[in-house]
Symmetry: C2
Subunit: 324 residues, 2 copies
């Protein structure tokens, strides 16, 4: 039997992901229809993953699908929104088996059921190149209240929602560049690389208390740098205050540079700023205070800087860029 | 000097495409914000193009960008909507020059200025594979009135907005499979393949008079088949009534099968159905009546059929599928 074509793939694999959502119209149409919601803004974000660049060629496709969905939802959460639907693009390489495609659809199903999304529509194409998947995600936030990178003020505290550097260390472990750690630690780190923890439960606190927010995808220091520049501020991050897991601290004890964790990618934690009262409230919900926003001056121009024990640490490459 | 990274590409090439649109927030954010419009539904569609599959590896990138935008706008027009913004995904192959990227951005600019769109956001990644570009397009239609594939009734007429088969013949010409035509004809056909004509001016008539509508991207007969099945109807298309250009008729005179034009891809004309009065109004705006919707029966099951001189023509492969 020959492989099913684009239309049967859509029927078999993707229609169940659309379910009865009114936006998708059962996927019989090429166009999704999103009715207006006068009380909410629609938040929209796009993130793509390419085999050999953002994941390993042989990673199981259910994990790839789950990561794709999480990195997209992460953007919506960081703006204080709730994700609820998505457009999907899949460029399948020649010869990818129907089983692999099923695994991919199954991964999407797992995450959309967990986080409350449905498929609205998309496109399915073939490629002579590597598997390439992209999602445009839709979320809602109360009208006029979605956070942005702008909005931080001098004097604001800088906060993150959880451990930094987990995925970076997981990637190193997968590359065979992390040794002498207990298996349990290694597995935890690899798992953070494959499947970042995202925290929809924090969106409300961000919306209520943060002055600016974004998710950390390209490394804490690089993303803090972007946030700082968007506000023409200097952001001071205190290395000793950045939360790291026991596994990460074990890796540092084995010789991994703590600075690498601050510039590695794929954290998908929330980075935000808040005034004093907001920061206190955010800390109550589980955020960590890691530094402060200060006015930019000719001596301390806009950007993010790392400090340890009161001294500034020079970092030549602040941000993670995918290695191509 | 090394090639600029993702962030400089965004600054140099894409920020000018976002302009001052409030949705894009100057692209400093990862998330676009679309405010609610209580009178309109938001229409959303995604279409991707892959080098070597949907266009030739050496096609100029401004043309690729322009085609990408048109095939996406085409979906919105066919539902009676007005396109006004887009998310963009670009997966650049290693070694693609900054000039090529500039050409691509220039192509987008040409089309967005012509058709009234702005860039809302997106993602830029690298790929070891071929250039892959995808757009998720946003349009508006008066609330509750966007057309769908469903809605046709037995007795409705079937109409198309213009010439069928132009792009298919253009593709054949580029593949060296079309000879003995005057240069002017060949150029017209190739041009239709590279840059389909789209007709935003027809959206209003579709909205007002059509009962069901879609754009033709995978061949007239295949797409009519989808429309017919979505309505459990049989659609009879009269080959002699399908509009073809003088260049296409010259190709047919030289031996090209007229049926090939009915199953070729990339037309991006509007296919719609309408009751008698609606059909008359649509014909007044430039549509062509090409057939009728009839009830499906056990002898004439749901689907599209081609007739010539009162006799049914057997077509084994109704729809164009991209050759991978």
């Amino acid at each position: 039997m020959s492989e099913p074509d684009e239309f049967s793939i859509i029927d078999q694999l993707f229609k169940p992901l659309a379910g009865f959502s009114r936006e998708a119209r059962g996927l019989i149409d090429d166009v999704a229809v999103i009715p207006p919601d006068p009380d909410h803004d629609l938040l929209v974000s796009t993130d793509a993953l390419v085999a050999g660049v953002h994941f390993f060629e042989h990673d199981p496709l259910d994990l790839v699908a789950r990561k794709l969905m999480r990195v997209n939802i992460s953007d919506i959460i960081a703006k204080g929104g709730t994700a609820y639907g998505y457009q999907l693009l899949t460029a399948w390489p020649r010869g990818l088996s129907l089983n692999d495609k099923r695994d991919f659809a199954r991964g999407l199903k797992t995450e959309q059921d967990r986080f409350g999304l449905t498929l609205f529509g998309g496109d399915t194409v073939s490629t002579p190149g590597p598997l390439t998947v992209s999602m445009t995600i839709f979320g809602k936030a109360p009208r006029g209240r979605a956070l942005s990178r702008a909005g931080a003020r001098a004097g604001d505290r800088v906060l993150v929602s959880g451990y930094i550097g987990q995925a970076h260390l997981g990637l190193r472990a997968l590359q065979g560049r992390l040794s002498d750690l207990p298996n349990g630690d290694v597995n935890e780190l690899i798992s953070a690389y494959h499947l970042p923890e995202i925290r929809p439960d924090l969106a409300h606190a961000v919306l209520r208390h943060a002055s600016a927010a974004m998710d950390i995808s390209d490394g804490l220091l690089g993303d803090a740098d972007h946030l700082a520049r968007a506000n023409t501020l200097m952001i001071r991050i205190e290395l000793d205050k950045v939360p790291t897991s026991p596994a990460a601290r074990a890796a540092i004890a084995e010789g991994v540079s703590a600075v690498d964790l601050m510039t590695g990618g794929d954290d998908y934690q929330i980075l935000c700023t808040a005034g004093e009262a907001g920061a206190k409230a955010l800390i109550m919900t589980g955020f960590y205070d890691i530094g402060a926003c200060v006015s930019a001056t000719p001596e301390t121009p806009a950007g993010a800087c790392l400090f340890a024990g009161g001294r500034r640490i020079e970092v030549t490459d602040k941000g993670f860029r995918h290695p191509l």
